[in-house]
Symmetry: C3
Subunit: 319 residues, 3 copies
Amino acid sequence: MKTTLKLAAATIAAAFVIGAAHAEEGGAAGAAPAAVAAASSQQAAQDQIRLTRVTPAYWKVTFASPPFNIVGPKEVRQLVRIVEQIEADPAVQVVVFDSAVPDYFIAHYDLLTPLEDSTGMAPGPTGMHPVPDLMVRIARLPVITIASIRGRATGIGSELALAADMRFASREKAILSQWEVGAGLVAGGGPMARLPRLVGRGRALEILVGADDIGGELAERYGYVNRALPDAELDAFVDGLARRIASFEREAIVETKKLVDVASLPPDAEMQPGWDAFIASVKRPATQARLKSLVDQGLQRKPEVERKLGARTAAYRKQ
Amino acid sequence: MKTTLKLAAATIAAAFVIGAAHAEEGGAAGAAPAAVAAASSQQAAQDQIRLTRVTPAYWKVTFASPPFNIVGPKEVRQLVRIVEQIEADPAVQVVVFDSAVPDYFIAHYDLLTPLEDSTGMAPGPTGMHPVPDLMVRIARLPVITIASIRGRATGIGSELALAADMRFASREKAILSQWEVGAGLVAGGGPMARLPRLVGRGRALEILVGADDIGGELAERYGYVNRALPDAELDAFVDGLARRIASFEREAIVETKKLVDVASLPPDAEMQPGWDAFIASVKRPATQARLKSLVDQGLQRKPEVERKLGARTAAYRKQ
Amino acid sequence: MKTTLKLAAATIAAAFVIGAAHAEEGGAAGAAPAAVAAASSQQAAQDQIRLTRVTPAYWKVTFASPPFNIVGPKEVRQLVRIVEQIEADPAVQVVVFDSAVPDYFIAHYDLLTPLEDSTGMAPGPTGMHPVPDLMVRIARLPVITIASIRGRATGIGSELALAADMRFASREKAILSQWEVGAGLVAGGGPMARLPRLVGRGRALEILVGADDIGGELAERYGYVNRALPDAELDAFVDGLARRIASFEREAIVETKKLVDVASLPPDAEMQPGWDAFIASVKRPATQARLKSLVDQGLQRKPEVERKLGARTAAYRKQ
């Protein structure tokens, strides 16, 4: 059954059982059958990723899918619809991405849905798979996008933040990471293309291959985020900056961003290979063993696992 | 009359009156008729932008045009002559750009001269308009250029600093900004090409589209300047560094810089589009309305407006 | 006699005497005749640059050539052999470069061997001279390389650190520098290609043309190193990170690094010109005079000269 949870079941049957069992026990998995069914309703979609028009020029996209803000194929489709609305609207000038879930901006990609739900998605307008397609389209939006990061932004959470034009983080509560290599995976949403250009090769390789949790303060020192602000000031700061930009002329913003794009966006051609490497890596037995171990420990189910993902990946011992 | 002050008068006649009236009242505008006449005298030019040969190998270019160090077509011509002298001199190895005007490195481009004074300038040797031409030639000079920033370096002030090889700022007194988008303008002197390569895409977009004032300390954290030094130490530090470089072998400096250029200079082709976008943006009615509002408040006339440019642009309410 | 010490003797005969005399006096020069003879024995080579297999996946390359860890043609050959072993081994995943010599990571290139010992080396597999060849091959190794910098990393020491994937420095004891321009030289191991991409054009030019000593804390602020850690924590931190990476899957590491390479490695073609410029610069009379002055003061012989190289180069007065 397509809606049953399984972990790349085509490759390792055991993963199927483990994932499913845990989802039933805990009820917290990102893709419980009922939720998957509901995803076809746009209303439900809007509830998981909320689009708020604060003003005609200032919109907010809020991840509100407790307990971990897991992003899988369903959420990718919701994001695509939201990006289409931003692309089509002539008045919007600035979009803030934030989270309504305590401790999580976006945990990571959903590893408990069938792999074919991800691989089987039709390509986006760029000709790429919807995940790299989404990342490229967000970066090229004719508006300014700001990621306001409180809690964990790991894997695709970090990648969405990196696709945004700017990133501001809670000094105390932000945790950024590209955890993928720690789980035997290759990151699929473009950080190999974006991070070296943002923070330099040395720090990019540390983030990507060290694959450890990076707090707000270090993220600022590395240039991973624009600034880390005291948690109590983050919302007001981002709101103030967004309203400021929303008060400016759209044409000046669009033309300025276009010239910055020329100087700084990675070629689109660097994005798809990352996604392909991610999918190839999921299927490898060694990766499956690592993922199974993480699911056994409580991935996508237990906060103590999601919260300390960097430590959990390091605890794995090769057979 | 060409020498009468006007603000893109061809487009919005009202601006003419406003600019002229203010200039007569305050007497502080950058291009009062008498000053424009005097500009044909190279002596007067030398007084506004002073070239000092500290030693044969160490020169200083000092902006000395109170009260705001406004740079317009006249000052661009002076800078071109200075750059030609640097290009032609076989002994000079290091050039420091600084200011003799308290609180201002360079405020911004002169918005009270007729637009055609800027658009009508003959192209420079690169084939580009003299402003982008100047920026490209400064960056490629076979000497090391150091911007010593005390006070406000906004718009073309920031762009000249970015064209220099290094930037050092007063921790307490430097204010850097690309304020243009806040006034409905697109920055014309190359920061969309230079800033992303210097500070990364995220911080570049914040600087360019947030268009707010950036103090010395934040400028250092962002990599906008090499370092922010205590104001009391800035001059001695820059002088020491300049004398150090002046004591080295010219060939080693020139060859080293040429290889750094290969790795880091934006293609010249990225510069002219910024200038074209700037000129196009000046002519837009919405931009004219914003500029008129700023002139009404006292742009290029009242220190309280120039000093808080970032706040002033945000105060504008769209009609 | 080829093994006698001389400083680019073909150009300036005086240098020969000076270098030789000093080496006999002090006995500390990197290439005393006996040592040069011994270099043909691979055993001696292994003693100067030690390769330790901490685990099959985690190797260490330790510079152990007191008193300054000078790197010359002999050490380059040893490094080539080590790189060949890393390239050929299917199990190694992470290699740490560190030093067993107090106060020195690697001082700089050996300036007391005959120039033809360097220029006469057969090209490496990339078709380039072994020095740029080595730098390119280290950067492209299918493993993660980490430079752990305690003490001075100058010239080729800095360049080897920059060829590594990551750099961590002792906050109190690291000194990084590209001192070459201060001695009339052009840096030969690639920093003009790497530094601007790592720390931005402004800071790269300051490092390369200011040519001064950079402490650990400033090196971190500039992004020259990933982080500067308290000296007492450096070894444990680097060891922990290396063991972490060694515990991950090799394929995920290799594929991730390959995509980072696409986004961040300078083109190989930028490396050879730096080496050529270095060799050309050594031969110039003005450079020879500067080097002679440094050798007279005690270069490669007296710790007080090596320790304050930045100050020593600035003390030179042109004739």
